[in-house]
Symmetry: none
Subunit: 208 residues, 4 copies
Amino acid sequence: MSKIDKNKQIKRDSLLETAFGLFTSKGIHKTSISDIVEAAGVAKGTFYLYFKDKYDIRNKLIAHKSSGIFQRADHALNQTDITGLEDRVIFLIDNIINQLVEDKALLRFISKNLSWGVFKTVLIEAGDDSDVVFYDIYHSAFADAGTFENPEVMVFMMIELVGATCYSSILYGEPVGIGELKPYIFRTIRSIMSMHRTAGREPECGAI
Amino acid sequence: MSKIDKNKQIKRDSLLETAFGLFTSKGIHKTSISDIVEAAGVAKGTFYLYFKDKYDIRNKLIAHKSSGIFQRADHALNQTDITGLEDRVIFLIDNIINQLVEDKALLRFISKNLSWGVFKTVLIEAGDDSDVVFYDIYHSAFADAGTFENPEVMVFMMIELVGATCYSSILYGEPVGIGELKPYIFRTIRSIMSMHRTAGREPECGAI
Amino acid sequence: MSKIDKNKQIKRDSLLETAFGLFTSKGIHKTSISDIVEAAGVAKGTFYLYFKDKYDIRNKLIAHKSSGIFQRADHALNQTDITGLEDRVIFLIDNIINQLVEDKALLRFISKNLSWGVFKTVLIEAGDDSDVVFYDIYHSAFADAGTFENPEVMVFMMIELVGATCYSSILYGEPVGIGELKPYIFRTIRSIMSMHRTAGREPECGAI
Amino acid sequence: MSKIDKNKQIKRDSLLETAFGLFTSKGIHKTSISDIVEAAGVAKGTFYLYFKDKYDIRNKLIAHKSSGIFQRADHALNQTDITGLEDRVIFLIDNIINQLVEDKALLRFISKNLSWGVFKTVLIEAGDDSDVVFYDIYHSAFADAGTFENPEVMVFMMIELVGATCYSSILYGEPVGIGELKPYIFRTIRSIMSMHRTAGREPECGAI
DNA sequence: TATGAATGAGGGTTCATTCAT
DNA sequence: CATGAATGAACCCTCATTCAT
């Protein structure tokens, strides 16, 4: 029993990792299920024992990989003694960006999928397994505390800004490399948080 | 001769518009070349007289449609007597957002393609035809004048922010509708421009 | 031992009944062995312990179900005191038709399989189990007694006529409902028997 | 144009005949579209230019082949000077039986499909092309003339009787060969017609 | 006996592309 | 220039069957 289940887990993981490799190297649409099973060394029918179709495995990969990024960032944050909320957010973003720089295939894969739809589904509304790390961060830091006037919009803007700008900068160095871009990103992030502060005393910094 | 050329142009435009209709309604990957030629009322082989393949026609569509948006926004700006640079930029963005709200199929199509890669290729580096409107705006306002410390990065961040946030907000009302989101976008845009002002006297507003 | 054998019988019967339900509702060709075992709640491999393949279970079902029809008809006949041979045959046919009207799924299943091949194999030549009822009827009434000049041909024609006409009439009401059709069937059956009577004194009724 | 159309007709006919050969030799369910195109010497995609799927080609074959049988029988009838209605019907049936004896593959194919559903659809309600021969026979002989009390039921019973009994007799010689069976069939056919004669004076021949 | 994970050949179908007309 | 019949590789997916447990 345990042995069979272990074997199943190995097969499933093998398919997931193989698919990830092919998706990131050839692109999803150029990757066929035949490619996946051949690379994974299993029979075609085996794929369908574990996944409904190509998009099922893609969604499971996105959830899994995105969750991993946030978990590692959160873990790193807990190793520090940073206390200020803004500083903690900047640390998280910096850590995530660094992860993406290190793993460009991952960035290309979740690419612009690190967007609000996925973010909310996967991370805030909590996944099926145990990928619930960010849920805690989000709620304790933003949602519950009355610090921000509209926390959901604020997080949305930060996520979208970071996701969209990093993609081009990290992958293509356009318009500048990530090293040069980071300061601007951080300043914009701080600006966004600042404008959402409830007792906002910063009218000079962005009145429409 | 002229008549034949006109006929050719009609066929080409017919294929472009038909493809756009199908791409936006069924999605690119669900649209086959057979679908396009059938809907356009031409023979299969004819397609290949004008376009290399499905992705060729898609790219030409993106360039064409994006350019149209900027041209209309620029035209509207010229009807006004707004003078301040920041205000002119806000006006352009507001106008573009309104266009996308009116034409959601268009938004879905160029979706996140209204990103830096396309933007630069299509608009700044000047297209093949005559879609050179934005080139003038960009250079006269941002690039040549020494007003901003890094104009390309600034425009990049603005474009990415607007593109990414509008997508989710306009199409899905997530996390809030575009009406509610706009003020935040504009304030962030102003903040970004402000932080790029050469004689920047705003250190308190976003130092990392 | 007895308990194990009972369990085996239960599994076998469960598979048979489940298969019958699926065959009649979805059709044989749309029913897979996976469907059967899943619905029966047993493992895939278990199927092969009892049946060779899908057609094996189908044949056993036809034999079983057809036999049941004849047994019930015969049982009902014995409850009556009808004596005339023609009348007894008409009673049997009427009873069988009524059963098929009540159980259209059964009719559809054995459909045109209630034909000579199956009939002879299953009923006259005696089945494998104990479905030997009709064998007695047939031999005592038709075969042994010298009443009819060619009893096998006679029974053959009656069976085929009833099977073929009932199918269309009961299932689709074409060309008329079974109520309207029955008198014609009975008259034809009587005519067939009449023409096979050895001392045939009925030349006016069908000389070629 | 004419040349291309001729070529298309050749391809279509080639596919039809090839499919017929395979259907009759291997059975429909054992015949794959791959088999058909391979035997016909065309590419797989070509099949789908002419037929929707396997059942589309089967239906077209049944209509085509059944129609041919009736047309040939009718043609032969017109070469004779038989006048009596009963005799004309017997001639038609005899001719059809003889055709089926000569072409057992055809019999196996349309087999029990020479039943009421197909018969009515294909022949009485008139096909799409010009297969309207039997329509004339049927209406002039049975339907319009007030000779028979319920002509549709009468024809139905004759068709079903002949179809069902011939199948077993011709293909398997069960329970007797077709030569021995024919007289019985004809006598039963005459009996059926006789009992439908409007001024029926034959109550003794089949009262229930 | 009973299981059910694994297999992989083969099914139907689509579609970009070619080329003779 | 324009056509559209023909192609055939490649796709996704099913499922009867096996066999180690």
